[in-house]
Symmetry: D2
Subunit: 137 residues, 4 copies
């Protein structure tokens, strides 16, 4: 498993009239976690785009366990547990202190940005995750 951790503070703009963070915002927290995971692996998404590769979202699942409130600091943990194939799955756990807020995953395909056609994962990425190999499914 490869993991990263980042934090984000809840803004007023994130809340809704129920007084909690609106569900729509969680895909943004997932994105925050994902980009930091790729940066930690050593292949930031920006660099991937420079290499004319994209990772469009093809599937996502979110489970809301308990609410997050205004001004809370959300810890966003992101995990790569399985070796990427033509797809890559990232998993997420969001906490406020020790309290679990939300879990879920996103599934992405690798595409060439010039054609939007699916492609194999870049060698560079596979190389970078080799040292974690025995920790991945």
């Amino acid at each position: 498993m490869i993991n990263s951790s980042t934090t984000s503070r809840v803004l007023y703009a994130h809340t809704d009239k129920m007084g909690i963070v609106n569900n729509e915002r969680f895909l943004e927290f997932f994105e925050m976690g994902r980009v930091e995971l790729l940066r930690k692996i050593g292949y930031p998404y920006k660099e991937m785009e420079n290499d004319m590769l994209g990772l469009p979202l093809i599937e996502t699942y979110l489970k809301f366990v308990s609410p997050a409130y205004y001004d809370d600091i959300i810890t966003i943990n992101a995990y790569l547990k399985e070796k990427p194939t033509v797809r890559i799955k990232i998993e997420y756990e969001l906490f406020v202190e020790e309290r679990l807020i939300c879990t879920g995953y996103t599934l992405h395909s690798f595409i060439k940005l010039n054609t939007f056609k699916p492609c194999r994962p870049p060698e560079k990425l596979l190389e970078l995750i080799k040292r974690y190999e025995n920790q991945l499914l």
Copy 2:
């Protein structure tokens, strides 16, 4: 099955630098579909809140089938296929013309807004969906 259909036009603010509607926005399209479904059933969410009931999201799944682009008109179909229990599941299909964009569901629990405690679905809602009874699982 009870179904409703509404439309929304893609704004520039919905797109991202890949030139397509950003995934984060789809939970908003799902909400648009859901509120119109409840309105069609005859129990708008606003009225539910006036009756001190809420429907927080506890789980959602989204599958992205093909991209939506700037200025597209997205047709948002929402479906109630199963009788609500302590939970209610709404399903969604989004189209641009005949092209399928996204499918998914949201799962909500019924809560009392004053205590945030789960509760049974309101009689009013169960009464309203009785006439569809043989069309629901």
Copy 3:
């Protein structure tokens, strides 16, 4: 003056914990008004982009007069009052029924999308607004 009118219903996702539409969302309502105004004039923004022209925002002002609430239908009026130069100014008034919610303007420059350099307003647009000429400053 050239004017257009469109509507948008307030979603839960638009509200914040004060129970009103969060200020951040109003630039999206302004965009909705602006694209309908350009469509009414006969030169939709999508077509402008196809002609390799863009209208980035360079300045905006918003005045919040009274709150909008969940499920309200907001009427978005957009106005072109002055002949475009290298810049174009669009003005806005948002209502819920007869109640004024928000006023403001956006100021845009015309740019060539391939160079991002400022340019004169397209002849096509100037031609289209000629018939309103004596109604514009």
Copy 4:
């Protein structure tokens, strides 16, 4: 003048199809700056709400000087330059490294959260900014 500085990294979800941060997002960056300024002064907005006070936005102005791009780190400077009256004005400057992205201000009124009626600024806030008194207009 009282000032604070915070940073935020541009997400994909912030960008639009022009490849730059969409204008709608800037009011969120302003909010980030504002809450850190109030925290630095010693009266976080959350505490103000606990004291049943609110600061609804009544007016805002934004000037877009140059674009911000995906993965940029935006530095958000917020300033209190004038003593609050029944209103408080916060000013903002956003930078990417040394490049100015956006300037603007927000004007807020003080209200009692139970009645939504305007009120004088809280003594606590006035007390806290006393030590900056000769630096404020």
